[in-house]
């Protein structure tokens, strides 16, 4: 709450809505660490985006700082404008994963873009990380 | 602004003027051994527009002149969606068939003159949307053919001075217009071929086998859907621009002690031996209004009724409603694989075929796209 008031002291320009380093994000799975961080009002911060642009979008892998730890995550929804037929959300949603691509939680409580099915399947290699496990725990597709 | 500058410079009091002590030295910075090509204009570079002169004609006389024009060149008509004149050159009768040469990849065909109509999206069969540019082939006719021996341009092809392939020159005109608006000289270009004067002219280098009789109409069906073409046109004139807009420089920071140089390019030269500005350094200057070539654009669709060609992408130079020239592409991997209409397409007798599409392009008359379920 105090951060909100601090932000009100000076004028704010239009937000770019990009997911880049130091962006605050929202964990949407039910992993313990994610739940605790969200409940304490200390949402995770992106500290790296694993692509060449440095700006993350749906399906990109990022590293977040959450409760003093470094955890990898997958972006499953963005605030910024999307192309036709791809949903845009009111919050930047992420799902925490480990190095093998297995999600830390067991359930995702928000809608997930359907495109993610194809994107994550394309990113999965036979001997690399398997991201498709994330799709199995999603409850709702948009 | 420039006016003010001039005034301030020239209105300086005489005491401020700089006087040179010694004699004036004329500098010449070009190499002495290169002689500039003597400018020799091709035969179609003529005074085109006539000075406007009302001649104090009465209404009757005006009507008579109009009637005389129609008698000679035919009545105004709308052909392929363009208001033009229903005129046919007597020369074009036995044009295309007379040379019965088989097409081979080394032969060079003529191009077309088109107008850029604008962009709109098209869809592919897999549901993907692509932006397309519409180009209308505007009432094109062959005006003149100059065989290789006679055609002697002042500037030879730069890359190969000993040009092995002798190419002829085909003069193509687009959009017929009322001859009253042009000079006698200019109308003379079209007189012998029995054509109306054309608003736009284009020169195309063709193999002698691909030569065409003057008066032959050129249509959009000269190309086929799926072919690749090059589009040449004049880019949008943006005037004098700085380096950020013209060359995409980054400029300088907004703060940190930077003053008066937020959009400047910075350093342009070196020191010592190289203490000069190298030729070709990117600097502010006039941007646009130059001929540029968009190579390898794919044709998605052709409308034969209005002679419109849809090409993939929106990179062709020029504004909407500007004139562009279309050629067979010079990119080696995108050249014709199968014989195209050679030397050009014939005028179709049946008006049944209106639209022809490239494979895998969604036709708007088709049903909604659905995907097959995975097994």
């Amino acid at each position: 709450m105090s951060t909100i008031f601090a932000a009100r002291q000076f004028s704010t320009s239009a937000v770019s809505n990009h997911i880049m380093k130091l962006t605050r994000l929202r964990v949407v799975d039910n992993s313990t660490i994610g739940k605790q961080a969200m409940a304490e009002g200390k949402p995770p911060r992106c500290i790296h985006v694993y692509n060449k642009k440095g700006i993350g979008t749906i399906g990109d892998k990022i590293m977040v700082a959450i409760k003093g730890e470094k955890v990898k995550a997958i972006i499953v929804g963005c605030v910024k404008e999307q192309k036709p037929n791809i949903p845009r959300f009111d919050s930047n949603n992420i799902v925490l994963i480990d190095d093998n691509g297995t999600p830390l939680g067991t359930r995702i409580n928000v809608p997930i873009p359907i495109v993610l099915r194809t994107i994550l399947k394309e990113k999965t290699f036979s001997k690399g990380a398997d991201y498709t496990k994330l799709l199995a725990i999603a409850s709702n597709y948009v | 602004m420039s006016k003010i500058m001039k005034r301030t410079v020239f209105d300086l009091p005489s005491s401020f003027r700089i006087t040179f002590g010694g004699p004036m030295v004329l500098q010449s910075r070009t190499a002495h051994n290169v002689r500039a090509p003597r400018i020799k204009y091709p035969l179609w570079y003529l005074q085109r527009e006539r000075a406007k002169d009302d001649q104090q004609l009465t209404g009757d006389n005006r009507a008579f002149v109009k009637e005389a024009v129609h008698d000679k060149f035919g009545m105004p008509a709308v052909i392929h969606g363009i208001s033009t004149y229903d005129v046919r050159s007597p020369l074009s009768e036995d044009s295309v068939e007379c040379l019965n040469v088989e097409w081979n990849p080394k032969l060079q065909r003529t191009g077309l003159i088109a107008r850029k109509l604008g962009n709109y999206p098209m869809w592919l069969d897999n549901g993907k949307s692509v932006l397309s540019t519409l180009l209308q082939v505007i009432d094109n006719h062959v005006i003149k053919y100059i065989p290789p021996g006679e055609f002697n341009p002042p500037r030879k092809p730069y890359s190969c001075p000993n040009h092995k392939k002798p190419l002829g020159c085909l003069l193509v005109g687009a959009e017929s217009a009322d001859p009253q608006y042009f000079t006698k000289q200019y109308c003379g270009l079209f007189y012998r071929e029995g054509m109306m004067p054309k608003k736009y002219l284009g020169r195309f280098m063709v193999s002698p086998e691909a030569a065409l009789q003057p008066g032959t109409p050129l249509l959009a069906s000269h190309f086929r859907p799926g072919d690749f073409i090059d589009v040449r046109g004049k880019t949008i004139d943006r005037g004098f621009q700085g380096v950020m807009k013209r060359h995409g420089f980054h400029g300088m920071p907004a703060t940190h002690g930077v003053t008066k140089s937020h959009r400047r390019g910075g350093n342009v030269g070196h020191g010592g031996e190289k203490g000069r500005i190298f030729p070709g350094t990117k600097m502010p200057g006039h941007m646009g209004n130059r001929y540029r070539l968009h190579k390898g654009a794919e044709i998605l669709r052709i409308n034969h009724k209005y002679n419109v060609i849809w090409i993939k992408g929106i990179a062709s130079p020029g504004k909407t409603n500007s004139i562009v020239y279309l050629y067979d592409t010079i990119l080696p991997l995108r050249k014709h694989k199968s014989p195209p209409p050679f030397p050009t397409s014939k005028v179709a007798d049946d008006d049944q075929l209106i639209d022809s599409y490239k494979e895998h392009v969604y036709k708007f008359t088709d049903q909604t796209i659905t995907y097959e379920e995975d097994k």
Binding site: A7, N140, V142 | -
Partner: protein, 300 residues
């Protein structure tokens, strides 16, 4: 001045007044110098006796048939070809009359989905573009997360566009719903179609939206929105808004002229298009009537 109008709005929302349909047009594009009366709105439903007569409200029902007024981009042949393609597409899919504020459902084929089709229900918050580029955005709150989906009107993957509740709102764009509490944009996915009686004018929903406290995605106090309840800001915000307001622009005739398609040209365009559109509509109505007629016979 704006402060006064805003105060007026605050005052009004307490009463929750019933607004007239003609009120809505004060916010529509400046081409509407001649404000259509209530009769012209209902003109579409009342069948014209002669088929050639183009209803005067066509520009509200088919706004995407009017080209982009930017003069540098205009070409009559391109616009004509575009219109022909649009009509071809309309023969395969029913694109109904809808407005910003209507609640819609869009079914479309999607190659990423397991059953290769999806359906999205939501309120239309924006309608943009002309010609084949025309698009609209739907918004809904699914599992407490605001979700928006943009659709192209003439996208061939769209299977069906349903209007579940045909109504207008007080503004031409409802982007402020992003800053409003979730209740304002929550709609049931299994909502049933609400039919309007034949010939009734399109109702205007006078709902006033109360926004969440700042920060917002835009400075709404400067946008002169009619559907916003009291914003609860300090006076300095309204003062600044008043400083930046440009109330004289509505008198700038040249600006209006450049922004809109002249009425004569609109008439020409709709005269060209309407007969075919009408044919398609009549065909569809016949099919619909057949379906409706079969049901009661079965029950009997």
């Amino acid at each position: 001045m704006l402060l006064k109008t805003l105060n007026f709005h605050r005052f009004k929302c307490g009463f929750a007044p019933v607004l007239r349909a003609s009120r809505l047009f004060s916010n529509s594009p400046p081409s509407d110098v001649q404000q259509p009366s209530d009769e012209s709105i209902s003109g579409k439903q009342v069948k014209p006796e002669r088929k050639s007569v183009v209803p005067s409200n066509s520009r509200f029902i088919y706004p995407e048939f009017l080209p982009d007024p930017k003069i540098e981009w205009r070409n009559s042949l391109r616009e004509k070809l575009e219109r022909m393609d649009m009509i071809q597409r309309r023969k395969h899919i029913d694109i109904p009359e809808f407005y910003v504020g209507s609640i819609m459902a869009v079914s479309s084929s999607n190659q990423h989905a397991p059953n290769k089709a999806t359906r999205f229900v939501g309120i239309c918050i924006q309608r943009l573009g002309c010609g084949l580029r025309a698009n609209f955005t739907l918004r809904n709150v699914i599992k407490h997360v605001g979700t928006e989906m943009k659709y192209q009107l003439y996208d061939p993957t769209i299977q069906k566009i349903e209007v579940l509740r045909l109504e207008k709102r007080l503004d031409d764009e409802l982007l402020y719903l992003r800053d409003a509490p979730n209740e304002y944009s929550t709609f049931d996915e299994n909502m049933e179609v609400e039919y309007l009686p034949e010939g009734a004018p399109v109702p205007v929903n006078p709902e006033m939206v109360k926004l969440k406290p700042r920060p917002w995605r835009a400075r709404w106090e400067r946008k002169n929105m009619k559907g916003l309840a009291d914003l609860g800001l300090e006076d300095r915000f309204y003062e600044r808004a008043e400083e930046l307001a440009t109330p004289w622009e509505k008198y700038d005739l040249m600006k209006q002229y450049r922004k809109t398609i002249p009425e004569e040209e609109q008439k020409e365009i709709f005269a060209e298009v309407y007969s075919e559109l009408h044919e398609v509509e009549v065909m569809r109505k016949k099919l619909k009537r057949k379906k409706v007629f079969i049901k009661p016979t079965k029950n009997v």
